[in-house]
Symmetry: C2
Subunit: 318 residues, 2 copies
């Protein structure tokens, strides 16, 4: 790969591809932009779930089974919190707490989330750049039949049970795009912008809606490649498919194509969805069919390599 790459990512699925990219690209060749719409304050601690998942994944510290948190985690804090009649709907591991405590302390001291994320990356030995989409607070709320819910309340406390009717992103209009992102998007060496297989509504959209992000992506001239988070009509992780269904959207790769049309130059879909290829070829972007299910590290690296190569081919044909 020649040139620099930007990846937009939410949590688990996005982080898997980000890890694959980090195994191919040098630290100065990859910038990962993290959604912060999932951030929230819990027990007085500032928690950034997507940033944490990215850091833990890139540091090879992530729990492979549950898809969030740290491996070899323990739960004595939670046991004591329960005994003390505390709020226990959000699980905070004993080791994971370190991240939240250090971040919260630094925020109280006036550090930006960008500075704090950089510091955490150093502490956990992550050398690739992870940038929060903004240093200003944006809070995703899922509008449901039962009223609007803060994202973590919807996602964790209510286990995505309420029916989704829409989304709102508190603070998004006032939020300034992270200046380091603008810098990365205007870098003349930029060769690809990758939209990881994350939830389009609550992971990728908040990033795209921050400041002049969309305009900067367009202006960059770099090929924009999305990897469908929907495989065989299902989301591999999380509520993306359920949300699409509840919003009356096609719960398949066509729905993803609809969502990103006008923004992307290429869409990667899974072998499972090869039957959709023909219909997608009418769309104003190229389509690559490959294995997008990332069970192993090799899968992550293979998809990352396929994505970079696809971006190159899309670029040369533009």
């Amino acid at each position: 790969m020649t040139g620099k790459v930007i990846a937009l990512s939410g949590g688990v699925g996005g982080a898997k591809l980000a890890l694959g990219l980090s195994k191919i690209l040098a630290p100065d060749e990859l910038t990962i932009i993290a959604n912060t719409g999932d951030d929230f304050e819990h027990l007085g601690l500032h928690i950034s779930p997507d940033i944490d998942t990215l850091i833990y994944t890139l540091a090879s510290l992530a729990n492979p089974a549950q898809g969030w948190g740290l491996k070899d985690e323990s739960w004595h804090f939670m046991e004591a919190l329960k005994a003390a009649d505390g709020e226990t709907w959000f699980q905070l591991g004993d080791k994971d707490l370190v991240t939240h405590v250090l971040r919260t302390k630094a925020m109280r001291e006036g550090k930006t989330l960008t500075e704090i994320t950089y510091d955490l990356c150093l502490r956990y030995g992550v050398s690739h750049k992870i940038l929060p989409m903004s240093d200003d607070p944006v809070r995703t709320r899922v509008i449901t039949a039962e009223g609007p819910l803060d994202f973590q309340h919807y996602f964790v406390r209510e286990r995505c049970a309420p029916k989704t009717t829409g989304f709102e992103f508190t603070g998004i209009k006032e939020a300034e795009l992270n200046p380091a992102i603008e810098q990365a998007l205007t870098d003349t060496d930029l060769s690809a912008i990758i939209i990881c297989p994350s939830n389009p509504f609550v992971s990728v959209d908040p990033i795209l809606m921050t400041g002049n992000m969309r305009a900067l992506i367009k202006a960059s001239g770099a090929p924009v490649i999305a990897i469908s988070p929907i495989v065989g009509g299902q989301a591999l992780k999380g509520p993306a498919a359920k949300m699409m269904q509840e919003l009356g959207l096609p719960t398949n790769v066509s729905g993803i194509a609809d969502h990103y049309e006008g923004l992307i130059d290429g869409l990667i879909i899974d072998e499972t969805d090869r039957a959709s290829l023909q219909a997608l070829q009418a769309r104003p972007f190229k389509v690559l069919v490959t294995n997008t299910i990332m069970n192993s590290l090799e899968d992550r690296i293979a998809l990352a390599a396929a994505t970079l190569s696809f971006a190159k081919s899309v670029q040369s044909s533009v």
Copy 2:
């Protein structure tokens, strides 16, 4: 016992006697006043060591071996903090963290330390009243040959090694005495004020120096009984004896008598120091010799009972 009792306490030694008192006195008969000069902010968390020791001790959750923290504690947070290059000189157990997280959250929300302490007591099942000496911040600093040190830096990080030349209590002049303490001290049912066997300089003095505490004690007319924290020339716990020596004070019960003379109506010394009884009888207060070493719960209750009974005898002879 008829009437109400106030106990002034620091950490470990004081908490042992407070526990004994709590086994004899009903919740509405005992008010424990806790030193908050040891409080500090660490990793962004508000920590109140003496209050925590009192709560944990009264809840029978204290670690009996180390004299601070919780029993059955685990240290995964600390291990992860160390791995993340965090500050590890102050030990925070996984379960103990619950207390600091809940307190810090409540302080950020504008709750007073009194309200927070009451809430924590409820959570841990402590029904006797523990009152911080003030809701305003007071910070003890130990003046040493190497310069002034924040108390926990002196006590924990430097393990009391620097030579003490004096003390300062930042904020003490501005700190308002907890109004609930004034209420307890003006209660017409008040029958005894007990100065627990805590460090006179850094545990008891900050309480006595807060607002009009001394004047209210005097005005209450209740007998004031101190239990010597020095036994056989040694402090059972902590740096009291070392401090007395470094300050050029007699490192024995006479030094304690000097310190409290003018304030107390009775001093309780250990059997070990029976030889000092005769000299002490010239002092303007009564002296009781009994076992003050509290190894078992029975010891704590016995000393509490002896203290209450001594207070009664001192009262009737006043």
